[in-house]
Assembly symmetry: C2
Homo-oligomer: 453 residues x 2
């Protein structure tokens, strides 16, 4: 094909009042109003309304009568200011409309399996996923991943300013990174390998090269779980840095990232947030910190629920603590520190003043864990001993251990899951909605039961 | 630990002449010169020379005598200007040195298995990889991945300016993306899944959502090959966009990315490039274009080697063509277009004027393929027919096909491998050197034969 005319993006049409332009896009909606047909045309910058009047072009009108949602079209016409009474405030191009003088169909769509025209796409999740490639076109769903782009961009910008290097580490690994059996095995030529549960060990190694590193990495969890909180493949935003003076520094960096991230989403995604009626909280003072045991005490005092002898926080505890932080500090974020040694991975630094507990932390956000991290064991002998204590074979981790054998400063880091943060910011009900093509026990694009046939 | 004094980065020491500072880093080198000990200290910003004089501090001198390469230290001292004759031009901090008044060992290193002090690390690749975590600390090896960071950053910046959205697509897929058997199978719960050979199908789907998308994605190739050109896991820089007016637009975008990338590496990585004596070529005029059959003719004319009836270019042809472009246009880049339909994947758009050939292209760079791409089939029926012709079962690709069934504009895109570009820019001999932790048939960190034991 060759386009007859230069393209004007729908967002540019706002500045083209009185001019003749050509727009290209998808028919989002067709409304027949007696003698006029209205078309909402979607392109990458937004939506514009075209008015098709047979008095302007009989031919364009005839074509418009045949149009279906998601047809791809080229529409030429004149940009007119709308009368005051017809201005649509919720549309960026709401002050203008396009008076169509010609319409070409570039690609014809079949009839959609469901209506995509409304502001809400009220479908059950399985339907949303069975028709993922169509559902993603809905502006409200497409908005989710524009927000993710802001989050990863903000994460990257904050860290670059702090002297971090972006790295890319492998996802095929020789053994389970974090211990445990929840790992996907892989036929690697005639051997076995695994999908990385996290970039943890590699980012730690890289501290001895660049001191400060971050990576945006796919991570894989084979938990046989179909909860609304679990994905088999997710995006982990990972940070690690050396020469920390103390454990607090890690939380300061995590806080800086989150403060900037909230600000950036708020500023750059007004349009997307408005589709969800989402309000981004503002962190006004330092995020509060407390030890896990103190957190359990607090929950007990507030609710009477006694989890004080549990080795970890319960999801209901996390919810209570966020609520408490929101009421007391105006934002639903709280750092909980010093989780028990038994509940943290082998590389976690114990608290020297009480080695039953670790220099670890979670940052709770909204209702649940947003960030998990801590100081790591940087002493080679201590690390090897700790692995042995946990029945982990050090000889499977030689490349990792090298980094500690040959000089490693005090270091630590943390990780946050992109999908979970997105879900919370937008108030999504299921984490799958925050993954373009979510993988779980039951689905890899198609439902797995179906692909058997 | 708690640091006694605020840290000065080695690069900041340049501006601290006459002042007392404390630096933290790794001992890169110790040289004993009679009554003085010289230490090269490496941190994330560079290297500084510390002079340890027993007349300044007997204690620091004693500690310095025990230091080994890669020990992590804290050194306090006064920054002195070097006498003119002792200025080291090749070192950013070469005009100053640090007169050590105290040295603390933060983390002790074992004796290195090889000398890391020289400018070159003359080791065989297997040794480099057996000791990967140490070898990466060598400034010349560490430089490789700083350049990769520039490449990915440049790629992202160019595309963001062109209205592209960054996306993250899955790497666990239901079937072989590009056809062929060279795919890693995965135990996915009680089913089979595969590792993505490329983000191809997903980026195409995403054109119907954002029109213009890019992704930096891990891709996996199970080729049973141990050539210097092949990695089992690599990073693919992928671009896809819709509403293309013609096939040429794709090459224009690819060229824009490469021009910016070369400029950015040249500007931002002077220090790293100098370690390799690498000269970045400048693209002075438009990159030349020719059809594959013309390219074969040209090679025949230049060399007498007749590959004119071959269905694809040979590696030796690619080398010749790059040499030709370099001589004629001053840069070793050339677009070769219209590869035979039989040699391109099912989604490639045939040339309507001769459907034996496709609207595909490779951009050859240096000596080999840098970028591969083309226009895609955007018509649903044509796509399904093409799959059937190639014995690909369309019912395995329902989510993909949805994108075309419901309106898809003319579109295309391309992909480039990060490691290959890095290798060529720096003149590395083996692509494994351009991967932090390379995966191949024989190795996943450890040699696979070894991990059997």
């Amino acid at each position: 094909m060759a386009y007859a005319r230069a393209r004007t993006l729908t967002i540019e049409a706002i500045e083209a009042s009185g001019k003749k332009i050509t727009v290209y896009g998808w028919v989002r909606l067709r409304r027949d109003h007696g003698k006029l047909i209205f078309l909402d045309i979607r392109d990458r910058t937004g939506i514009i309304q075209a008015v098709v009047n047979p008095k302007v072009s009989q031919e364009a009108y005839k074509t418009a009568q045949t149009l279906r949602a998601e047809d791809v079209v080229e529409i030429a016409g004149k940009v007119n200011k709308r009368p005051e009474s017809a201005v649509k405030a919720e549309l960026e191009t709401g002050t203008i409309e396009l008076e169509a003088s010609s319409i070409e169909i570039i690609s014809k769509a079949e009839t959609l399996p469901f209506d995509m025209g409304a502001n809400e796409l009220n479908l059950e999740l399985p339907t949303l996923l069975d028709y993922r490639s169509i559902a993603l076109r809905h502006p409200k769903i497409a908005a989710i991943f524009k927000i993710q782009e802001t989050i990863t961009g903000s994460f990257r910008n904050t860290l670059k300013k702090e002297g971090f290097t972006e790295i890319f580490v492998p996802t095929i690994v020789p053994s389970a990174t974090e211990g445990g059996a929840e790992v996907f095995p892989l036929d690697y030529y005639d051997k076995k390998a695994y999908l990385a549960q996290s970039p943890q060990l590699y980012k730690q190694i890289m501290v001895s090269i660049y001191e400060r590193v971050f990576t945006i990495a796919h991570a894989y969890r084979a938990e046989p779980s179909i909860t609304t909180r679990h994905l088999s493949e997710y995006l982990s935003l990972d940070v690690e840095f050396g020469f920390i003076d103390n454990f607090e520094e890690l939380m300061d960096m995590a806080e800086k990232i989150v403060v900037n991230l909230l600000k950036d989403v708020e500023e750059k995604n007004k349009k997307e947030l408005s589709l969800f009626g989402a309000n981004i909280p503002k962190i006004k003072s330092k995020i509060p910190k407390m030890k896990m045991r103190e957190a359990q005490d607090l929950v007990f005092k507030m609710t009477g629920v006694d989890h004080r002898s549990e080795p970890d926080l319960d999801p209901s505890d996390e919810k209570e603590l966020c609520k408490w932080a929101n009421e007391k500090y105006g934002a639903p974020f709280v750092f909980v520190t010093h989780y028990p040694t038994s509940k943290r991975p082998f590389y976690t630094m114990p608290d020297s003043s009480n080695p039953e507990y670790t220099l670890s932390f979670d940052m709770l956000g909204f209702t649940e864990e947003w960030i998990t991290g801590g100081q790591r064991i940087n002493d080679y002998n201590m690390l090897v001993e700790n692995m042995k204590k946990r029945k982990i074979n050090p000889s499977l981790f030689e490349i990792y251990l090298q980094a500690f054998k040959y000089g490693m400063p005090p270091e630590g880091g943390f990780a946050m899951g992109l999908e979970r943060i997105t879900k919370d910011l937008l108030g999504l009900l299921n984490i799958r909605e925050a993954s373009l093509f979510p993988r779980d026990m039951e689905r890899v694009d198609e439902r797995l039961s179906k692909s058997e046939k």
